[in-house]
């Protein structure tokens, strides 16, 4: 039992949130599915370590973010070994090199969102986490703060800087692709 819910109830309640978050970070349906399953297996194994100090959803989002970041780091290391060009050095044109179309985006926004996802990928880790949770899961700054164990002002600052960075990256992209 976790917060009065059985494990199966937790799965049914949170599976879409976990999967959607994983998809936002990993941008690949198969990888997102595997990561989401890993999240629930971790929850099953670590259920005794949940003391109820934070809410269940905060705890689950925290595990989700950690697993996704770990997957991204693994992929980044793999890429670095495979090629000299790292993900951080993605140029403006490379933003749309491998477009990701999220299934929940309205049709008229598909192309623009793919460009935005490409730009988000190039953000520093903390900004990426805060911005993704805010945009994809529609979480409040306060909830994001609890997940990332940061103050409200830190989250405000992270999202503000993320937007500044994204504007700059998108400007380069649109100027190069005019």
């Amino acid at each position: 039992m976790i917060s009065g819910l059985t494990f199966e109830e937790v799965v049914y309640e949170y599976q879409d949130r976990v999967y959607n978050t994983c998809l936002g970070f990993l941008k690949n349906e198969t990888e997102a599915k595997d990561a989401a399953q890993e999240v629930f297996i971790n929850i099953y194994k670590k259920v005794n370590s949940f003391k109820g100090e934070s809410s269940l959803s905060t705890w689950i989002y925290r595990i989700t973010v950690n697993i996704c970041l770990s997957e991204l780091r693994k992929a980044k290391t793999k890429k670095r070994w495979g090629s000299i060009i790292g993900t951080d050095s993605k140029s403006a044109t490379q933003i749309a090199a491998d477009p990701f179309y999220h299934p929940g985006v309205e049709l008229e926004n598909k192309e623009r969102s793919a460009i935005l996802f490409g730009a988000i990928e190039t953000l520093p880790e903390q900004q990426k986490v805060a911005f993704t949770l805010h945009k994809l899961e529609n979480l409040s700054y306060d909830e994001i703060g609890q997940i990332m164990k940061k103050s409200l002002s830190s989250i405000e600052s992270l999202i503000h800087r993320a937007k500044i960075n994204l504007r700059a990256k998108l400007k380069n992209y649109y100027e190069e692709n005019r």
């Binding site: 199966e8 799965v11 599976q15 959607n20 299934p103 985006v105 460009i115 994204l166």
Partner: protein, 102 residues
């Protein structure tokens, strides 16, 4: 320039009102199957059965070892007794009784 700025703002807003992606139908059953397997590995009764079987095998091996060694011991005992008997028979000074001298 204004057009680019406009496009940037539209792109930044492209994830507004995004709908949550849903898991496939197989997701839950696959996951629960994995957890059931995991549960088996963590189940103390599963472990008891495992340890029980291991104990039975160990006991059977010990039993076999003891039986084999007892057999060997008894064989060697027999050999030793036989050797002793032969030795006694060959080397003992049998009293030769001269009946005729009486």
């Amino acid at each position: 320039m204004k057009k680019t700025d406009n496009e940037i703002e539209k792109t930044l807003a492209s994830l507004d009102n995004i709908e949550r992606a849903k898991v496939s139908k197989e997701f839950t059953s696959e996951l629960l199957q994995k957890v059931r397997f995991l549960k088996g590995a963590y189940d103390p009764w599963h472990n008891r059965l495992k340890y029980g079987i291991a104990a039975m095998i160990t006991l059977a091996l010990i039993n076999g070892y003891v039986l084999f060694n007892t057999d060997w011991l008894s064989n060697s005992e027999e050999t030793q007794i036989e050797a002793l008997a032969n030795e006694w028979y060959n080397e003992s000074d049998l009293i030769e009784y001269d009946y005729e001298s009486e």
